[in-house]
Symmetry: C2
Subunit: 308 residues, 2 copies
Protein backbone atom coordinates (compact mmCIF):
# COMPACT_ATOMS: atom_id res chain seq x y z
CA UNK A 1 0.00 0.00 0.00
CA UNK A 2 1.39 3.39 -0.96
CA UNK A 3 1.70 6.18 1.55
CA UNK A 4 -1.04 8.21 -0.12
CA UNK A 5 -3.49 5.54 1.05
CA UNK A 6 -2.71 5.97 4.72
CA UNK A 7 -5.91 6.83 6.49
CA UNK A 8 -7.87 7.35 3.28
CA UNK A 9 -11.60 6.83 3.72
CA UNK A 10 -13.80 6.61 0.65
CA UNK A 11 -16.87 7.80 2.57
CA UNK A 12 -15.90 11.44 3.27
CA UNK A 13 -14.11 11.79 -0.08
CA UNK A 14 -17.10 10.43 -2.00
CA UNK A 15 -19.60 12.45 0.04
CA UNK A 16 -17.83 15.71 -0.74
CA UNK A 17 -17.51 14.90 -4.43
CA UNK A 18 -21.07 13.62 -4.72
CA UNK A 19 -22.34 16.95 -3.42
CA UNK A 20 -20.46 18.75 -6.19
CA UNK A 21 -21.76 16.31 -8.82
CA UNK A 22 -25.39 16.48 -7.67
CA UNK A 23 -25.26 20.26 -7.52
CA UNK A 24 -23.71 20.51 -10.98
CA UNK A 25 -26.16 18.04 -12.53
CA UNK A 26 -29.08 19.93 -11.05
CA UNK A 27 -27.77 23.20 -12.49
CA UNK A 28 -26.85 21.78 -15.90
CA UNK A 29 -29.74 19.45 -16.68
CA UNK A 30 -32.08 22.13 -17.84
CA UNK A 31 -33.08 23.73 -21.12
CA UNK A 32 -32.23 27.09 -22.56
CA UNK A 33 -35.91 27.78 -23.14
CA UNK A 34 -38.34 30.04 -21.29
CA UNK A 35 -40.54 27.65 -19.31
CA UNK A 36 -44.22 27.82 -20.15
CA UNK A 37 -43.63 28.77 -23.76
CA UNK A 38 -45.38 26.74 -26.44
CA UNK A 39 -47.64 24.69 -24.16
CA UNK A 40 -44.87 23.96 -21.68
CA UNK A 41 -43.42 21.15 -23.81
CA UNK A 42 -39.83 22.21 -23.11
CA UNK A 43 -40.64 22.11 -19.40
CA UNK A 44 -42.04 18.58 -19.83
CA UNK A 45 -38.90 17.45 -21.64
CA UNK A 46 -36.64 18.93 -19.00
CA UNK A 47 -38.76 17.32 -16.30
CA UNK A 48 -38.27 13.89 -17.89
CA UNK A 49 -34.53 14.55 -18.27
CA UNK A 50 -34.20 15.59 -14.64
CA UNK A 51 -36.26 12.63 -13.47
CA UNK A 52 -33.89 10.33 -15.35
CA UNK A 53 -30.76 11.91 -13.90
CA UNK A 54 -31.38 13.39 -10.45
CA UNK A 55 -32.01 11.80 -7.05
CA UNK A 56 -30.75 8.37 -7.84
CA UNK A 57 -27.85 6.30 -8.92
CA UNK A 58 -24.57 5.49 -7.25
CA UNK A 59 -22.68 8.03 -9.42
CA UNK A 60 -19.89 5.51 -9.83
CA UNK A 61 -18.86 6.91 -13.20
CA UNK A 62 -18.62 10.53 -12.01
CA UNK A 63 -16.60 9.39 -8.99
CA UNK A 64 -14.24 7.47 -11.28
CA UNK A 65 -13.74 10.59 -13.39
CA UNK A 66 -13.03 12.72 -10.33
CA UNK A 67 -10.82 10.07 -8.74
CA UNK A 68 -8.80 9.62 -11.92
CA UNK A 69 -8.41 13.38 -12.30
CA UNK A 70 -7.14 13.69 -8.74
CA UNK A 71 -4.80 10.75 -9.26
CA UNK A 72 -2.98 12.68 -11.99
CA UNK A 73 -3.49 16.10 -10.36
CA UNK A 74 -5.61 17.26 -13.29
CA UNK A 75 -7.96 20.20 -13.80
CA UNK A 76 -10.88 19.88 -11.37
CA UNK A 77 -13.24 22.16 -13.34
CA UNK A 78 -12.83 20.10 -16.52
CA UNK A 79 -13.27 16.90 -14.53
CA UNK A 80 -16.56 18.07 -13.01
CA UNK A 81 -17.93 18.65 -16.51
CA UNK A 82 -16.62 15.26 -17.64
CA UNK A 83 -18.11 13.59 -14.55
CA UNK A 84 -21.55 15.00 -15.29
CA UNK A 85 -21.31 14.30 -19.03
CA UNK A 86 -20.54 10.63 -18.51
CA UNK A 87 -23.41 10.34 -16.03
CA UNK A 88 -25.79 11.85 -18.62
CA UNK A 89 -24.69 9.22 -21.14
CA UNK A 90 -25.24 6.51 -18.52
CA UNK A 91 -28.67 7.93 -17.65
CA UNK A 92 -29.78 8.15 -21.28
CA UNK A 93 -28.72 4.55 -21.88
CA UNK A 94 -30.85 3.39 -18.94
CA UNK A 95 -33.86 5.36 -20.18
CA UNK A 96 -33.66 3.81 -23.65
CA UNK A 97 -32.70 0.37 -22.33
CA UNK A 98 -35.81 0.26 -20.11
CA UNK A 99 -38.19 1.03 -22.99
CA UNK A 100 -40.73 -1.60 -24.06
CA UNK A 101 -38.90 -2.38 -27.31
CA UNK A 102 -35.72 -3.13 -25.34
CA UNK A 103 -35.82 -4.61 -21.81
CA UNK A 104 -39.35 -3.39 -21.02
CA UNK A 105 -38.53 -2.66 -17.41
CA UNK A 106 -40.87 -0.70 -15.14
CA UNK A 107 -38.66 -0.14 -12.07
CA UNK A 108 -35.34 1.70 -11.87
CA UNK A 109 -33.59 3.17 -8.85
CA UNK A 110 -36.74 2.30 -6.90
CA UNK A 111 -38.95 4.51 -9.09
CA UNK A 112 -41.13 3.89 -12.16
CA UNK A 113 -38.97 4.04 -15.27
CA UNK A 114 -39.11 7.17 -17.42
CA UNK A 115 -41.39 5.73 -20.10
CA UNK A 116 -43.83 4.54 -17.41
CA UNK A 117 -43.84 7.98 -15.81
CA UNK A 118 -43.78 10.21 -18.91
CA UNK A 119 -44.72 8.00 -21.87
CA UNK A 120 -42.57 6.36 -24.53
CA UNK A 121 -42.19 9.34 -26.82
CA UNK A 122 -40.94 11.54 -23.99
CA UNK A 123 -38.55 8.81 -22.83
CA UNK A 124 -37.12 8.50 -26.33
CA UNK A 125 -36.68 12.27 -26.65
CA UNK A 126 -35.32 12.75 -23.14
CA UNK A 127 -32.68 10.11 -23.81
CA UNK A 128 -31.73 11.74 -27.10
CA UNK A 129 -31.53 15.16 -25.47
CA UNK A 130 -29.40 13.82 -22.60
CA UNK A 131 -26.84 12.45 -25.04
CA UNK A 132 -26.59 15.81 -26.81
CA UNK A 133 -26.40 17.64 -23.48
CA UNK A 134 -23.42 15.49 -22.47
CA UNK A 135 -21.41 16.90 -25.36
CA UNK A 136 -22.73 20.38 -24.65
CA UNK A 137 -21.38 20.16 -21.09
CA UNK A 138 -17.96 19.20 -22.44
CA UNK A 139 -17.70 22.21 -24.73
CA UNK A 140 -18.36 25.39 -22.74
CA UNK A 141 -17.90 28.54 -24.78
CA UNK A 142 -16.51 30.46 -21.86
CA UNK A 143 -14.55 29.35 -18.86
CA UNK A 144 -11.25 27.72 -18.26
CA UNK A 145 -11.43 24.34 -19.99
CA UNK A 146 -8.78 24.41 -22.73
CA UNK A 147 -10.12 23.63 -26.23
CA UNK A 148 -7.67 20.72 -26.58
CA UNK A 149 -9.06 19.17 -23.37
CA UNK A 150 -12.61 19.74 -24.61
CA UNK A 151 -11.82 17.92 -27.86
CA UNK A 152 -10.10 15.04 -26.04
CA UNK A 153 -13.04 14.60 -23.66
CA UNK A 154 -15.56 14.60 -26.54
CA UNK A 155 -13.45 12.03 -28.38
CA UNK A 156 -13.24 9.68 -25.38
CA UNK A 157 -16.93 10.00 -24.56
CA UNK A 158 -18.13 9.53 -28.14
CA UNK A 159 -16.03 6.39 -28.54
CA UNK A 160 -17.12 4.90 -25.24
CA UNK A 161 -20.80 5.59 -25.98
CA UNK A 162 -20.93 4.73 -29.64
CA UNK A 163 -20.54 1.99 -32.15
CA UNK A 164 -17.27 0.69 -30.69
CA UNK A 165 -18.60 0.78 -27.13
CA UNK A 166 -21.90 0.94 -25.34
CA UNK A 167 -24.28 0.98 -28.31
CA UNK A 168 -22.74 -2.06 -29.95
CA UNK A 169 -22.64 -3.84 -26.59
CA UNK A 170 -26.39 -3.29 -26.31
CA UNK A 171 -26.83 -4.71 -29.79
CA UNK A 172 -24.86 -7.83 -28.90
CA UNK A 173 -26.89 -8.14 -25.70
CA UNK A 174 -30.16 -7.99 -27.63
CA UNK A 175 -28.98 -10.54 -30.16
CA UNK A 176 -27.80 -12.91 -27.41
CA UNK A 177 -31.12 -13.57 -25.69
CA UNK A 178 -31.72 -17.32 -25.56
CA UNK A 179 -28.35 -18.17 -27.13
CA UNK A 180 -25.42 -19.76 -25.37
CA UNK A 181 -22.34 -17.49 -25.27
CA UNK A 182 -18.77 -18.57 -24.64
CA UNK A 183 -16.96 -16.79 -21.82
CA UNK A 184 -15.01 -14.83 -24.41
CA UNK A 185 -18.17 -13.68 -26.20
CA UNK A 186 -19.73 -12.71 -22.89
CA UNK A 187 -16.62 -10.72 -21.97
CA UNK A 188 -16.61 -8.99 -25.34
CA UNK A 189 -20.26 -8.01 -24.91
CA UNK A 190 -19.76 -6.61 -21.41
CA UNK A 191 -16.52 -4.84 -22.22
CA UNK A 192 -18.54 -2.87 -24.72
CA UNK A 193 -21.92 -2.60 -23.01
CA UNK A 194 -20.82 -1.40 -19.58
CA UNK A 195 -17.03 -1.67 -19.58
CA UNK A 196 -16.37 0.92 -22.26
CA UNK A 197 -18.11 3.73 -20.35
CA UNK A 198 -16.50 2.80 -17.02
CA UNK A 199 -13.05 2.67 -18.61
CA UNK A 200 -13.97 5.86 -20.47
CA UNK A 201 -14.77 7.53 -17.14
CA UNK A 202 -11.27 6.75 -15.84
CA UNK A 203 -9.67 7.96 -19.07
CA UNK A 204 -11.72 11.15 -19.14
CA UNK A 205 -10.51 11.92 -15.64
CA UNK A 206 -6.95 11.21 -16.74
CA UNK A 207 -7.45 13.42 -19.81
CA UNK A 208 -7.91 16.40 -17.47
CA UNK A 209 -4.26 15.96 -16.45
CA UNK A 210 -0.92 16.27 -18.20
CA UNK A 211 -1.20 12.93 -20.01
CA UNK A 212 1.87 10.83 -19.20
CA UNK A 213 1.69 7.86 -21.68
CA UNK A 214 2.73 5.15 -19.17
CA UNK A 215 0.17 6.35 -16.63
CA UNK A 216 -2.44 6.53 -19.38
CA UNK A 217 -1.94 2.88 -20.29
CA UNK A 218 -2.00 1.74 -16.67
CA UNK A 219 -5.19 3.72 -16.02
CA UNK A 220 -6.70 2.20 -19.16
CA UNK A 221 -5.90 -1.28 -17.78
CA UNK A 222 -7.36 -0.27 -14.42
CA UNK A 223 -10.53 0.95 -16.14
CA UNK A 224 -10.88 -2.25 -18.17
CA UNK A 225 -10.51 -4.44 -15.09
CA UNK A 226 -13.04 -2.63 -12.94
CA UNK A 227 -15.37 -2.25 -15.92
CA UNK A 228 -15.54 -6.00 -16.27
CA UNK A 229 -15.61 -6.57 -12.50
CA UNK A 230 -18.63 -4.27 -12.29
CA UNK A 231 -20.59 -6.48 -14.68
CA UNK A 232 -19.55 -9.74 -13.03
CA UNK A 233 -20.75 -8.38 -9.69
CA UNK A 234 -23.95 -7.13 -11.34
CA UNK A 235 -24.66 -10.65 -12.59
CA UNK A 236 -23.96 -12.09 -9.14
CA UNK A 237 -26.26 -9.55 -7.48
CA UNK A 238 -28.99 -10.26 -10.04
CA UNK A 239 -29.35 -13.76 -8.56
CA UNK A 240 -28.41 -13.10 -4.91
CA UNK A 241 -30.09 -9.78 -4.03
CA UNK A 242 -33.76 -8.81 -3.95
CA UNK A 243 -35.48 -6.04 -5.93
CA UNK A 244 -35.79 -3.73 -2.92
CA UNK A 245 -32.03 -3.79 -2.31
CA UNK A 246 -31.20 -3.41 -6.01
CA UNK A 247 -33.78 -0.71 -6.71
CA UNK A 248 -34.58 -2.56 -9.91
CA UNK A 249 -36.21 -5.86 -10.83
CA UNK A 250 -34.02 -8.72 -9.55
CA UNK A 251 -33.69 -12.02 -11.40
CA UNK A 252 -34.55 -10.18 -14.62
CA UNK A 253 -31.66 -11.53 -16.68
CA UNK A 254 -32.29 -15.15 -15.79
CA UNK A 255 -36.00 -14.62 -16.51
CA UNK A 256 -35.19 -13.10 -19.89
CA UNK A 257 -32.90 -16.05 -20.66
CA UNK A 258 -29.94 -13.73 -21.06
CA UNK A 259 -26.47 -15.20 -20.74
CA UNK A 260 -24.71 -13.91 -17.60
CA UNK A 261 -21.46 -14.65 -15.79
CA UNK A 262 -23.42 -16.73 -13.31
CA UNK A 263 -25.02 -18.80 -16.09
CA UNK A 264 -21.67 -19.26 -17.88
CA UNK A 265 -19.24 -19.64 -14.93
CA UNK A 266 -21.52 -20.48 -12.02
CA UNK A 267 -21.93 -18.40 -8.86
CA UNK A 268 -18.73 -19.28 -7.02
CA UNK A 269 -16.40 -18.93 -10.00
CA UNK A 270 -18.07 -15.60 -10.81
CA UNK A 271 -17.36 -14.33 -7.31
CA UNK A 272 -13.75 -15.48 -7.55
CA UNK A 273 -13.40 -13.86 -10.99
CA UNK A 274 -14.57 -10.54 -9.54
CA UNK A 275 -11.81 -10.73 -6.88
CA UNK A 276 -9.22 -11.52 -9.55
CA UNK A 277 -10.29 -8.51 -11.56
CA UNK A 278 -10.04 -6.35 -8.45
CA UNK A 279 -6.48 -7.60 -7.94
CA UNK A 280 -5.66 -6.82 -11.57
CA UNK A 281 -7.09 -3.31 -11.16
CA UNK A 282 -5.01 -2.68 -8.03
CA UNK A 283 -1.87 -3.98 -9.74
CA UNK A 284 -2.44 -1.59 -12.65
CA UNK A 285 -2.85 1.28 -10.19
CA UNK A 286 0.46 0.49 -8.53
CA UNK A 287 2.18 0.40 -11.91
CA UNK A 288 0.81 3.82 -12.74
CA UNK A 289 2.81 5.48 -9.93
CA UNK A 290 0.11 8.06 -9.39
CA UNK A 291 0.28 11.09 -7.14
CA UNK A 292 -3.00 10.16 -5.40
CA UNK A 293 -4.13 6.59 -6.12
CA UNK A 294 -6.21 6.17 -2.95
CA UNK A 295 -9.64 7.28 -4.24
CA UNK A 296 -9.40 5.06 -7.33
CA UNK A 297 -8.28 2.09 -5.24
CA UNK A 298 -11.16 2.60 -2.83
CA UNK A 299 -13.61 2.92 -5.72
CA UNK A 300 -12.36 -0.37 -7.17
CA UNK A 301 -13.03 -2.08 -3.84
CA UNK A 302 -16.47 -0.50 -3.72
CA UNK A 303 -17.30 -1.84 -7.19
CA UNK A 304 -16.59 -5.41 -6.07
CA UNK A 305 -17.91 -5.25 -2.52
CA UNK A 306 -21.17 -3.39 -3.19
CA UNK A 307 -24.54 -4.89 -2.25
CA UNK A 308 -26.55 -3.12 -4.96
CA UNK B 1 -25.80 39.91 -57.74
CA UNK B 2 -22.13 39.82 -56.80
CA UNK B 3 -19.44 38.95 -59.29
CA UNK B 4 -18.69 35.64 -57.59
CA UNK B 5 -22.12 34.48 -58.77
CA UNK B 6 -21.42 34.98 -62.44
CA UNK B 7 -21.92 31.69 -64.18
CA UNK B 8 -22.25 29.74 -60.95
CA UNK B 9 -24.30 26.58 -61.38
CA UNK B 10 -25.41 24.71 -58.30
CA UNK B 11 -25.62 21.41 -60.20
CA UNK B 12 -21.93 20.76 -60.90
CA UNK B 13 -20.85 22.24 -57.55
CA UNK B 14 -23.33 20.12 -55.63
CA UNK B 15 -22.57 16.99 -57.65
CA UNK B 16 -18.86 17.21 -56.89
CA UNK B 17 -19.45 17.86 -53.20
CA UNK B 18 -22.12 15.18 -52.90
CA UNK B 19 -19.64 12.61 -54.21
CA UNK B 20 -17.23 13.55 -51.43
CA UNK B 21 -19.97 13.42 -48.81
CA UNK B 22 -21.36 10.04 -49.94
CA UNK B 23 -17.89 8.57 -50.11
CA UNK B 24 -16.98 9.85 -46.65
CA UNK B 25 -20.26 8.70 -45.08
CA UNK B 26 -19.80 5.25 -46.55
CA UNK B 27 -16.28 5.04 -45.13
CA UNK B 28 -17.14 6.49 -41.73
CA UNK B 29 -20.49 4.86 -40.94
CA UNK B 30 -19.05 1.59 -39.80
CA UNK B 31 -18.03 -0.01 -36.50
CA UNK B 32 -14.65 -0.60 -35.05
CA UNK B 33 -15.55 -4.25 -34.45
CA UNK B 34 -14.52 -7.41 -36.29
CA UNK B 35 -17.62 -8.37 -38.29
CA UNK B 36 -19.05 -11.78 -37.44
CA UNK B 37 -17.91 -11.66 -33.84
CA UNK B 38 -20.43 -12.38 -31.13
CA UNK B 39 -23.27 -13.54 -33.39
CA UNK B 40 -22.75 -10.74 -35.88
CA UNK B 41 -24.71 -8.25 -33.77
CA UNK B 42 -22.24 -5.44 -34.49
CA UNK B 43 -22.69 -6.15 -38.19
CA UNK B 44 -26.49 -5.91 -37.75
CA UNK B 45 -26.17 -2.59 -35.94
CA UNK B 46 -23.88 -1.18 -38.60
CA UNK B 47 -26.24 -2.42 -41.30
CA UNK B 48 -29.13 -0.52 -39.68
CA UNK B 49 -26.95 2.59 -39.31
CA UNK B 50 -25.87 2.44 -42.96
CA UNK B 51 -29.45 1.84 -44.10
CA UNK B 52 -30.51 4.95 -42.22
CA UNK B 53 -27.76 7.13 -43.69
CA UNK B 54 -26.69 5.94 -47.13
CA UNK B 55 -28.43 6.02 -50.52
CA UNK B 56 -30.97 8.63 -49.71
CA UNK B 57 -31.61 12.15 -48.67
CA UNK B 58 -30.96 15.46 -50.32
CA UNK B 59 -27.87 16.07 -48.18
CA UNK B 60 -28.96 19.66 -47.77
CA UNK B 61 -27.24 20.01 -44.40
CA UNK B 62 -23.86 18.71 -45.61
CA UNK B 63 -24.05 21.01 -48.63
CA UNK B 64 -24.79 23.97 -46.35
CA UNK B 65 -21.74 23.10 -44.23
CA UNK B 66 -19.51 22.85 -47.31
CA UNK B 67 -21.00 25.96 -48.90
CA UNK B 68 -20.55 27.98 -45.72
CA UNK B 69 -16.98 26.74 -45.35
CA UNK B 70 -16.17 27.77 -48.93
CA UNK B 71 -17.84 31.12 -48.40
CA UNK B 72 -15.31 31.95 -45.67
CA UNK B 73 -12.42 30.06 -47.31
CA UNK B 74 -12.27 27.64 -44.38
CA UNK B 75 -10.58 24.27 -43.86
CA UNK B 76 -12.12 21.74 -46.28
CA UNK B 77 -11.06 18.64 -44.30
CA UNK B 78 -12.73 19.89 -41.13
CA UNK B 79 -15.82 20.86 -43.11
CA UNK B 80 -16.16 17.37 -44.62
CA UNK B 81 -16.23 15.89 -41.11
CA UNK B 82 -18.72 18.52 -39.99
CA UNK B 83 -20.86 17.87 -43.08
CA UNK B 84 -21.05 14.15 -42.32
CA UNK B 85 -21.57 14.68 -38.59
CA UNK B 86 -24.57 16.93 -39.11
CA UNK B 87 -26.05 14.44 -41.58
CA UNK B 88 -25.70 11.66 -38.98
CA UNK B 89 -27.62 13.77 -36.47
CA UNK B 90 -30.30 14.42 -39.08
CA UNK B 91 -30.46 10.70 -39.94
CA UNK B 92 -30.73 9.60 -36.31
CA UNK B 93 -33.52 12.10 -35.71
CA UNK B 94 -35.49 10.66 -38.63
CA UNK B 95 -34.99 7.08 -37.39
CA UNK B 96 -36.30 7.94 -33.93
CA UNK B 97 -39.01 10.26 -35.26
CA UNK B 98 -40.43 7.49 -37.45
CA UNK B 99 -40.74 5.01 -34.57
CA UNK B 100 -44.20 3.82 -33.48
CA UNK B 101 -44.11 5.80 -30.22
CA UNK B 102 -43.44 9.01 -32.21
CA UNK B 103 -44.83 9.55 -35.74
CA UNK B 104 -45.24 5.83 -36.51
CA UNK B 105 -44.22 6.25 -40.14
CA UNK B 106 -43.46 3.32 -42.42
CA UNK B 107 -42.02 5.06 -45.49
CA UNK B 108 -38.95 7.30 -45.67
CA UNK B 109 -36.90 8.25 -48.72
CA UNK B 110 -38.99 5.76 -50.67
CA UNK B 111 -37.92 2.82 -48.47
CA UNK B 112 -39.42 1.12 -45.41
CA UNK B 113 -38.36 3.02 -42.29
CA UNK B 114 -35.58 1.57 -40.13
CA UNK B 115 -37.84 0.11 -37.45
CA UNK B 116 -39.95 -1.59 -40.13
CA UNK B 117 -36.85 -3.06 -41.75
CA UNK B 118 -34.79 -3.95 -38.64
CA UNK B 119 -37.19 -3.87 -35.68
CA UNK B 120 -37.76 -1.22 -33.05
CA UNK B 121 -34.90 -2.12 -30.74
CA UNK B 122 -32.38 -1.92 -33.58
CA UNK B 123 -33.84 1.39 -34.73
CA UNK B 124 -33.52 2.82 -31.24
CA UNK B 125 -29.91 1.64 -30.92
CA UNK B 126 -28.91 2.64 -34.44
CA UNK B 127 -30.18 6.16 -33.78
CA UNK B 128 -28.30 6.35 -30.49
CA UNK B 129 -25.11 5.07 -32.13
CA UNK B 130 -25.43 7.57 -34.99
CA UNK B 131 -25.60 10.46 -32.55
CA UNK B 132 -22.44 9.27 -30.80
CA UNK B 133 -20.70 8.66 -34.13
CA UNK B 134 -21.38 12.26 -35.15
CA UNK B 135 -19.26 13.49 -32.26
CA UNK B 136 -16.66 10.84 -32.97
CA UNK B 137 -16.30 12.16 -36.53
CA UNK B 138 -15.72 15.66 -35.20
CA UNK B 139 -12.87 14.62 -32.91
CA UNK B 140 -10.27 12.66 -34.90
CA UNK B 141 -7.21 11.77 -32.87
CA UNK B 142 -4.89 12.20 -35.80
CA UNK B 143 -5.09 14.47 -38.81
CA UNK B 144 -5.18 18.13 -39.40
CA UNK B 145 -8.30 19.39 -37.67
CA UNK B 146 -7.13 21.76 -34.94
CA UNK B 147 -8.40 20.88 -31.43
CA UNK B 148 -9.96 24.32 -31.08
CA UNK B 149 -11.96 23.72 -34.28
CA UNK B 150 -12.97 20.27 -33.03
CA UNK B 151 -14.25 21.76 -29.78
CA UNK B 152 -16.13 24.54 -31.59
CA UNK B 153 -17.80 22.05 -33.98
CA UNK B 154 -18.85 19.78 -31.09
CA UNK B 155 -20.29 22.78 -29.26
CA UNK B 156 -22.33 23.96 -32.25
CA UNK B 157 -23.61 20.47 -33.07
CA UNK B 158 -24.54 19.59 -29.48
CA UNK B 159 -26.48 22.83 -29.08
CA UNK B 160 -28.31 22.45 -32.38
CA UNK B 161 -29.24 18.85 -31.63
CA UNK B 162 -30.06 19.09 -27.96
CA UNK B 163 -32.40 20.60 -25.47
CA UNK B 164 -32.18 24.11 -26.92
CA UNK B 165 -32.65 22.87 -30.49
CA UNK B 166 -33.91 19.80 -32.27
CA UNK B 167 -34.88 17.64 -29.28
CA UNK B 168 -36.97 20.32 -27.65
CA UNK B 169 -38.54 21.16 -31.01
CA UNK B 170 -39.64 17.54 -31.29
CA UNK B 171 -41.11 17.72 -27.79
CA UNK B 172 -43.10 20.85 -28.69
CA UNK B 173 -44.24 19.13 -31.88
CA UNK B 174 -45.50 16.11 -29.94
CA UNK B 175 -47.30 18.27 -27.41
CA UNK B 176 -48.95 20.33 -30.17
CA UNK B 177 -50.97 17.60 -31.88
CA UNK B 178 -54.61 18.63 -32.01
CA UNK B 179 -53.95 22.05 -30.44
CA UNK B 180 -54.15 25.37 -32.21
CA UNK B 181 -50.81 27.20 -32.33
CA UNK B 182 -50.29 30.88 -32.97
CA UNK B 183 -47.92 31.79 -35.79
CA UNK B 184 -45.30 32.73 -33.22
CA UNK B 185 -45.58 29.38 -31.41
CA UNK B 186 -45.38 27.54 -34.73
CA UNK B 187 -42.26 29.51 -35.66
CA UNK B 188 -40.68 28.80 -32.29
CA UNK B 189 -41.32 25.08 -32.71
CA UNK B 190 -39.86 24.93 -36.20
CA UNK B 191 -36.88 27.12 -35.40
CA UNK B 192 -35.95 24.47 -32.90
CA UNK B 193 -37.14 21.28 -34.59
CA UNK B 194 -35.60 21.78 -38.03
CA UNK B 195 -34.24 25.31 -38.05
CA UNK B 196 -31.59 24.83 -35.36
CA UNK B 197 -29.80 22.05 -37.26
CA UNK B 198 -29.96 23.91 -40.60
CA UNK B 199 -28.62 27.09 -39.01
CA UNK B 200 -26.11 24.90 -37.16
CA UNK B 201 -24.94 23.48 -40.49
CA UNK B 202 -24.18 26.97 -41.79
CA UNK B 203 -22.40 27.93 -38.57
CA UNK B 204 -20.36 24.71 -38.50
CA UNK B 205 -19.16 25.47 -42.00
CA UNK B 206 -18.31 29.00 -40.92
CA UNK B 207 -16.51 27.61 -37.84
CA UNK B 208 -14.02 25.94 -40.20
CA UNK B 209 -12.86 29.42 -41.22
CA UNK B 210 -11.17 32.33 -39.48
CA UNK B 211 -14.33 33.49 -37.68
CA UNK B 212 -14.94 37.15 -38.49
CA UNK B 213 -17.68 38.27 -36.02
CA UNK B 214 -19.70 40.33 -38.52
CA UNK B 215 -19.69 37.49 -41.04
CA UNK B 216 -20.65 35.07 -38.28
CA UNK B 217 -23.74 37.09 -37.38
CA UNK B 218 -24.78 37.49 -41.00
CA UNK B 219 -24.36 33.75 -41.63
CA UNK B 220 -26.36 33.05 -38.50
CA UNK B 221 -29.18 35.24 -39.86
CA UNK B 222 -28.88 33.49 -43.23
CA UNK B 223 -29.13 30.10 -41.51
CA UNK B 224 -32.16 31.12 -39.46
CA UNK B 225 -33.99 32.40 -42.54
CA UNK B 226 -33.42 29.32 -44.68
CA UNK B 227 -34.06 27.04 -41.69
CA UNK B 228 -37.54 28.47 -41.34
CA UNK B 229 -38.09 28.64 -45.11
CA UNK B 230 -37.29 24.93 -45.32
CA UNK B 231 -40.11 24.10 -42.92
CA UNK B 232 -42.63 26.41 -44.56
CA UNK B 233 -41.90 24.75 -47.92
CA UNK B 234 -42.13 21.32 -46.24
CA UNK B 235 -45.61 22.16 -45.00
CA UNK B 236 -46.63 23.39 -48.45
CA UNK B 237 -45.30 20.23 -50.11
CA UNK B 238 -47.09 18.05 -47.55
CA UNK B 239 -50.42 19.21 -49.01
CA UNK B 240 -49.44 19.76 -52.67
CA UNK B 241 -47.14 16.84 -53.54
CA UNK B 242 -47.81 13.12 -53.63
CA UNK B 243 -46.01 10.38 -51.64
CA UNK B 244 -44.05 9.13 -54.66
CA UNK B 245 -42.51 12.56 -55.26
CA UNK B 246 -41.82 13.17 -51.56
CA UNK B 247 -40.46 9.68 -50.86
CA UNK B 248 -42.48 9.75 -47.65
CA UNK B 249 -46.15 9.66 -46.74
CA UNK B 250 -47.83 12.84 -48.02
CA UNK B 251 -50.68 14.54 -46.17
CA UNK B 252 -49.38 13.02 -42.95
CA UNK B 253 -49.36 16.21 -40.92
CA UNK B 254 -52.93 17.17 -41.80
CA UNK B 255 -54.04 13.59 -41.05
CA UNK B 256 -52.28 13.67 -37.69
CA UNK B 257 -53.98 16.99 -36.93
CA UNK B 258 -50.63 18.70 -36.52
CA UNK B 259 -50.49 22.47 -36.84
CA UNK B 260 -48.58 23.50 -39.98
CA UNK B 261 -47.87 26.76 -41.80
CA UNK B 262 -50.60 25.85 -44.26
CA UNK B 263 -53.13 25.29 -41.48
CA UNK B 264 -52.15 28.52 -39.71
CA UNK B 265 -51.45 30.87 -42.66
CA UNK B 266 -53.20 29.16 -45.57
CA UNK B 267 -51.48 27.90 -48.75
CA UNK B 268 -50.94 31.18 -50.57
CA UNK B 269 -49.65 33.13 -47.59
CA UNK B 270 -47.33 30.22 -46.78
CA UNK B 271 -45.87 30.34 -50.30
CA UNK B 272 -45.39 34.08 -50.05
CA UNK B 273 -43.77 33.73 -46.62
CA UNK B 274 -41.25 31.25 -48.07
CA UNK B 275 -40.26 33.85 -50.73
CA UNK B 276 -39.90 36.54 -48.07
CA UNK B 277 -37.60 34.29 -46.06
CA UNK B 278 -35.55 33.61 -49.19
CA UNK B 279 -35.18 37.36 -49.70
CA UNK B 280 -34.10 37.78 -46.07
CA UNK B 281 -31.54 35.00 -46.48
CA UNK B 282 -30.10 36.61 -49.62
CA UNK B 283 -29.94 40.01 -47.93
CA UNK B 284 -28.01 38.50 -45.01
CA UNK B 285 -25.58 36.89 -47.46
CA UNK B 286 -24.92 40.24 -49.14
CA UNK B 287 -24.27 41.84 -45.76
CA UNK B 288 -21.73 39.15 -44.94
CA UNK B 289 -19.39 40.27 -47.75
CA UNK B 290 -18.19 36.72 -48.28
CA UNK B 291 -15.38 35.58 -50.54
CA UNK B 292 -17.62 33.01 -52.27
CA UNK B 293 -21.32 33.49 -51.53
CA UNK B 294 -22.59 31.78 -54.70
CA UNK B 295 -23.03 28.20 -53.39
CA UNK B 296 -24.95 29.36 -50.30
CA UNK B 297 -27.15 31.63 -52.40
CA UNK B 298 -27.91 28.79 -54.80
CA UNK B 299 -28.67 26.44 -51.91
CA UNK B 300 -31.10 28.97 -50.45
CA UNK B 301 -32.94 29.09 -53.78
CA UNK B 302 -32.95 25.29 -53.89
CA UNK B 303 -34.53 25.11 -50.43
CA UNK B 304 -37.45 27.26 -51.54
CA UNK B 305 -37.88 25.99 -55.09
CA UNK B 306 -37.57 22.23 -54.40
CA UNK B 307 -40.38 19.82 -55.34
CA UNK B 308 -39.62 17.26 -52.60
Amino acid sequence: MQSADAGFLLGPWAAAHLLRVEDALSRWVTADVPVGQAHGAPADLVQAMRYAVLDGGKRLRPLLVLGACESVQGDAAAALRAACAVELIHAYSLVHDDMPCMDNDVLRRGKPTVHVQFGEASALLAGDALQALAFELLTPEEGDVAPAVQARLCRLLARAAGSAGMAVGQAIDLASVGRPLSEQQLRDMHQRKTGALLRGSVLMGAACGPGDPAQWQALSDFGSAIGLAFQVVDDVLDVTADSATLGKTAGKDAQADKPTYVSVLGLERSRRYARELLDAACTALEQARLAHPAPLRALAHMVVDRSH
